[in-house]
């Protein structure tokens, strides 16, 4: 008997008309004309009937239905985490669902329904607590970032001052209308003559100051908690580059940055380090 015929016979389900299919024509003809093939087909069909019957028999564990329903309720109350790790080899992957439910049922005598409600309540509380914790953490992080960004300048003050100078508008305003809260230090040997808001919004003011001799400079007074600055105008500027002398110091809750055209000598003509910080 040909291999193809044997395979065709084996592919026919018991008590079916599979033999009538086009692919089976060869096998069907051989069964019709070859007694050996006919016997083979009949015995294979007998075997298949017996195996099919046995295949679908077998006992089902007691209580399986209730365990499955409990697992479904538990899963519905606490859906699976998509990123939950897959159970390691050899572990029972659903022990945390079905076994826990069954253990709790056995211990407390509660019905599956009431346990499921308790699980739902616990799950709800847990989600609520997680949400509160997330909000609190967000507030703390935001506060920290706010303080950190406010205090932290990406540039040293010398470089920052150059940027501020470049950002100045030509539209200086009359000093009589200068805002309060941005005091010009008394240590300066120059008086403010005009002013304008800085680009940081209303956190800083730029003054044009002028000595009695008519030497002009620019003073920036900015609200800041930046630390590590001298508490009075330094006798010598911290920077003398680019044709500018720049000195800075802290005065109360603000920092003062004086930008004087020229060198250290020009700078010294505008400050009196021995004077009080504020006017």
């Amino acid at each position: 008997m040909e291999k193809r015929t044997r395979e065709a016979i084996e592919a026919c389900r018991p008590h079916s008309d599979d033999l009538a299919n086009p692919e089976m024509r060869e096998g069907a003809e051989e069964i019709a004309h070859d007694p050996e093939a006919r016997v083979f087909y009949a015995r294979v069909q007998q075997w298949d009937s017996a195996i099919t019957a046995a295949m679908q028999s077998g006992s089902v564990p007691a209580g399986l239905e209730s365990r499955l329903l409990s697992a479904l309720r538990a899963d519905h109350a606490n859906p699976a985490d998509e990123h939950a790790p897959v159970a390691a080899a050899g572990e029972k992957p659903y022990a945390s669902i079905s076994d826990d439910v069954m253990t709790a049922l056995a211990a407390s005598g509660e019905s599956a329904a009431s346990l499921s409600a308790a699980e739902r309540s616990y799950s709800s509380r847990r989600r609520w607590l997680a949400a509160c914790a997330s909000i609190a953490a967000t507030i703390v992080v935001a506060a920290f970032l706010n303080a950190w960004l406010r205090d932290r300048s990406p540039l040293p003050l010398e470089e920052q001052a150059v940027t501020w100078v470049d950002q100045l508008s030509p539209a200086w305003q009359d000093i009589s209308r200068a805002p309060s809260g941005f005091q010009v230090p008394a240590a300066l040997l120059a008086a403010p003559v005009t002013w304008q808001w800085m680009e940081q919004g209303r956190q800083g003011v730029a003054y044009q100051v002028e000595t009695a001799a008519g030497v002009r400079a620019t003073l920036f007074v900015v609200k800041s908690s930046r630390t590590g600055l001298p508490s009075s105008p330094p006798a010598m500027p911290q920077s003398t580059t680019g044709g500018r002398a720049i000195g800075y110091w802290r005065a109360g809750d603000q920092i003062c940055v004086l930008v004087v055209p020229g060198d250290a000598r020009s700078y010294r003509a505008l400050v009196n380090p021995a004077a009080a910080p504020l006017a």
């Binding site: 294979v44 046995a54 239905e65 329903l69 859906p79 050899g90 659903y94």
Partner: protein
């Protein structure tokens, strides 16, 4: 557009189909514990994906498909059992037993490699025609016929051979099957 019909009640699915699904799972896994895990996994997956069901008449086939896919994932990566060289012309002598012992049949199924096992279960348990088996497993019809012939031959040989130990069931794998928990979709 076809009427999707009433929503599927998964609890009702459990009541209607848990026995047949468990038996199918047991035939595939070869152990009570693994079969129960697999059955539970099938219904948990069904609970998450019951929106996919369009025709309530196809629910059992849909559950069988979930079961097969879960099982296929669980054995993926394992070394397949080698299939013995068989004389396909040979049928066991004597009368065919009309009542085959369930555990003996299970021992015979356990001796099959995974490829054979799936083909045999589709043929005997689901009673699918060879064309549908080919479509389901995405293999050619000729491959289905070849696998069926060899698998059935091996199965019959195992059924007529005396068991190595009384009541012993030769499990194909040393470790338990692990069925990955279905991902949440809600």
């Amino acid at each position: 557009m076809a009427d999707p019909g009433p929503p599927v009640d998964v609890a009702q699915l459990v009541r209607d189909h848990h026995e047949v699904l468990y038996r199918y799972a047991y035939r595939l896994c070869g152990s009570v514990a693994d079969a129960e895990d697999l059955t539970q996994h099938v219904f948990l997956t069904a609970q998450q994906k019951c929106g996919q069901v369009r025709d309530s008449g196809c629910v059992r086939g849909w559950l069988f498909t979930i079961l097969r896919n879960c099982y296929a994932k669980s054995f993926r990566g394992r070394l397949p059992l080698s299939s013995a060289e068989l004389d396909l012309n040979e049928l066991p002598d004597g009368e065919v037993e009309q009542s085959i012992d369930s555990e003996r049949l299970q021992a015979a199924i356990n001796s099959l490699c995974e490829e054979f096992k799936l083909v045999v279960l589709l043929f005997y348990f689901e009673q699918r025609p060879y064309r549908e088996i080919a479509e389901t497993l995405e293999i050619p019809i000729g491959t289905v016929m070849s696998r069926l012939a060899r698998a059935k031959c091996q199965l019959r040989q195992a059924l007529v051979e005396p068991p190595t130990q009384a009541g012993a069931v030769a499990l194909p794998h040393a470790s338990r099957a692990v069925f990955a928990r279905p991902a949440a979709t809600r």
